[in-house]
Symmetry: C2
Subunit: 198 residues, 2 copies
């Protein structure tokens, strides 16, 4: 369609998640008009992330050193580990400011169709961490969808043999939502998990 | 939020048009998991576009040589020039395959609020091209919005002195649309521009 470099850039941008052909074109022309330094900075940030970022040796979260900032922080509660699917989930939980323990990033969820079983996830690394006796609770915070639930069930069964307390994030109505618009499964879960208020 | 390089990349991606904080994070983690070569290719495509792409000396369209592929193509109808706002518009018209003439890219539209008048656009370059007598028709294909219409009106007035035929793209109902969902202005234009069918 376009000549050489412009079309190359549109093609490359179109491979990014959530970027369709129209957005790719829009971004390409934005970059074409942008300052050379700004484009260079973005381009450098991309290569830097590949060179500098690795996964934390302990929890699997993204990190620029051997261990991530959370694992290095001795003020965090070392007796609780929250198990999540992705590094993004760590950030989502950190934003709530309601958890001060450690994390373990599985790197995905059990999904037989995609050929992802426990061996493709960082499950063995989790078991190794638990052999140290200081951990008292595991919070299963996988996604509340089919794969996430399957992963949580699998881990709960596996961990039950260790005598450590295992908890799962509550399912229920999203705060600020409308009861009438909640789907049946969510509403059902909210009923099952109802709490005594007085 | 994240450590160094990941957050830098999220910040840089967040500056792109149509990329919000969530998309920026999604793209950053996609790049983190992508093959190093793929990321390098994207990064190179960005810098290449800044180094190699310039504007066609004649029409202002994007080009890697002094003149763009359309201006270089002697098989195109040299007697018609279609005036558009952006290079993207050239591609949109090319995709229709219903036009075989030349183009002139203004580089924007008249917008007094943003301080863009005729002097900030490639209007003088258009007049220079018209001093050559071979052009018989100018098609005004600026956007059908306030700024585009103002630009078309300005150009129409200016060109009327040259004795060249000036046309404007038809306004009307979009093909495949529903009459009842058309806005009043569009429907009004469709009435004004109705054509005799028999």
């Amino acid at each position: 369609m376009y000549e050489g470099a412009v079309q190359d850039l549109i093609d490359e941008l179109g491979r990014l998640p959530g970027v369709g052909p129209k957005s790719a074109q829009r971004i390409a022309f934005f970059l074409l008009d942008a300052d050379k330094e700004d484009v260079q900075r973005l381009s450098d940030a991309m290569t830097a992330v590949k060179e500098r970022v690795k996964h934390c040796r302990i929890c699997g979260n993204v990190a620029e050193q051997e261990e991530c900032a959370i694992c290095r922080d001795s003020r965090r509660d070392q007796t609780v580990i929250c198990v999540v699917e992705e590094s993004k989930d760590v950030m989502a939980i950190e934003r709530t400011k309601s958890y001060r323990g450690l994390y373990h990033v599985l790197g995905g969820s059990i999904n037989p169709i995609a050929g992802i079983g426990p061996d493709q996830l960082r499950v063995r690394e989790l078991m190794t961490r638990l052999s140290d006796e200081s951990v008292e609770e595991i919070v299963l915070a996988t996604d509340p969808n089919l794969e996430g639930e399957a992963t949580a069930t699998y881990l709960a069964r596996m961990l039950s043999t260790l005598g450590i307390k295992v908890t799962r994030l509550a399912s229920g109505l999203p705060v600020g939502g409308d009861l009438e618009y909640a789907d049946e499964v969510t509403l059902g879960r909210a009923f099952e998990g109802r709490t005594i208020v007085s």
